[in-house]
Symmetry: C2
Subunit: 257 residues, 2 copies
């Protein structure tokens, strides 16, 4: 069984300081991965103060592109620096991490649809490695390059790898209701619509409402949790908010392979 | 029309000094690229004293693999350092270079056959960028990771991108005959068999005989030349040794698209 784990940019970086790793949080997070017995793990991390800072400087988003190779070097270079730090932290804990850079791998067509071939990641998994991807730029037909968010990579990989569990580790303990309490289970968007009424997007890659809609469309249960829930998630237990849409209904499981 | 240019490891590095860029040669080579008007250019560079040194240290070749993530970090990390230098030299000359890392992109099956999806490179080309790939490691089913040489990447890309010209820039001025003179044209292996009788392989990725056999199998004319021939090649002229096998016979051109 394959697990896809997203580490939010706010978990691995200090969001308010450009290009600052959150050393304490990165150590704690990678300790949890190293201490687990999870097999076939793919890690995707966000951009935090590395990617978002440079993307904002150059005015590039998931839909606003750039043909400026200097801007590509800045944004992609910063994300590779952060990726190196995450990979090195995992390697230092004997997790066999290998970097995988989305700009090398994927591309968007003129409609913005992402193609992310799965062969390299699947073969790395089969050979016992832990591929570590990250929010990045990708080539985009007609727009040069645009941002691909960690969340979009998770959705793509969960599908192409037939992942059985998806974890979204951010700095909030789950999807919160109007009273600020964690909603334990979301099976349809209506379950959380009141709390998610408005988009609370504060970065270029969307907020919780978009995240919930996207996770509901997966063919696997997804969990949204904070750093405190990471150990439980990796142990195969419930953590934070469990999100499973129609794709994971038991009466549809016969369609899967 | 798409051109694939290989810059040999001996052109961009000092082969005898681990992790030393040949600054003079790199400057001269990237000046030639910047000064040309070639469109749709893909650059592939070899490993030279970056990749070969670490590959040899860890005993990894195109067929001997490693599952050691520390070895992967060493070899791949050294190649990314070299790639960064080549990309930066091109960017400094206003060539819109973008790095593409084969470990992120490709994989080998159990037979060692390489799959290198072309979508990212093709979209980057369509958007006016110059993708810059490099010899690297790739995931290899059953073997962990193995070396992929620059020459193998050139062969794969020339096919998948329908390249119309392939250039192999190394430190020799062409394929040499027994007297040390450049053979101007090779249309079949027999044309050069006497001179290539033995393999003169001195690195992990094969010598000239293997290179000629591989280039004869392409669907495009390939040129083998030294740094002095780079300007002429990029200007669309003849340079060094021209190699074109059955795939580029005029009476077969009707098969192409």
């Amino acid at each position: 069984m394959t697990t896809v784990l997203k580490l939010g940019g706010s978990v691995v970086t200090e969001k308010d300081n450009p290009e600052q790793v959150d050393e304490v949080s990165l150590a704690r997070t990678t300790d949890a991965v190293a201490g687990s017995e999870v097999e076939r793990l793919v890690v995707v991390h966000g951009g935090g103060s590395f990617g978002h800072y440079h993307a904002a400087t150059h005015g590039v988003t998931t839909t606003q592109g750039t043909h400026d190779s200097g801007a590509v070097a800045d944004v992609h270079g910063a994300m590779k620096t952060l990726n190196r730090r995450v990979v090195d932290a995992l390697l230092a804990r004997d997790v066999p991490a290998v970097p995988v850079h989305p700009l090398s791998l994927g591309a968007r067509d003129a409609e913005g649809d992402l193609t992310l071939p799965a062969g390299s990641v699947r073969t790395l998994l089969d050979e016992g490695f832990v591929p570590v991807l990250h929010g990045d730029l990708v080539a985009h037909r007609g727009k040069g390059t645009t941002v691909v968010s960690g969340d979009e990579l998770v959705t793509s990989l969960a599908g192409s790898l037939d992942a059985e569990r998806v974890g979204m580790c951010s700095t909030v303990p789950g999807v919160l209701d109007a009273e600020g309490e964690v909603i334990p289970h979301i099976g349809a968007f209506e379950d959380a619509a009141a709390a998610l009424g408005g988009s609370d997007a504060t970065d270029v890659t969307g907020g919780m409402a978009a995240k919930v809609r996207s996770l509901l469309s997966l063919g696997a249960p997804a969990f949204v949790f904070g750093p405190d829930g990471l150990g439980a998630f990796l142990a195969g237990e419930e953590a934070g908010t469990r999100i499973d849409g129609a794709g994971t209904d038991e009466d549809e499981s016969a369609d899967g392979e």
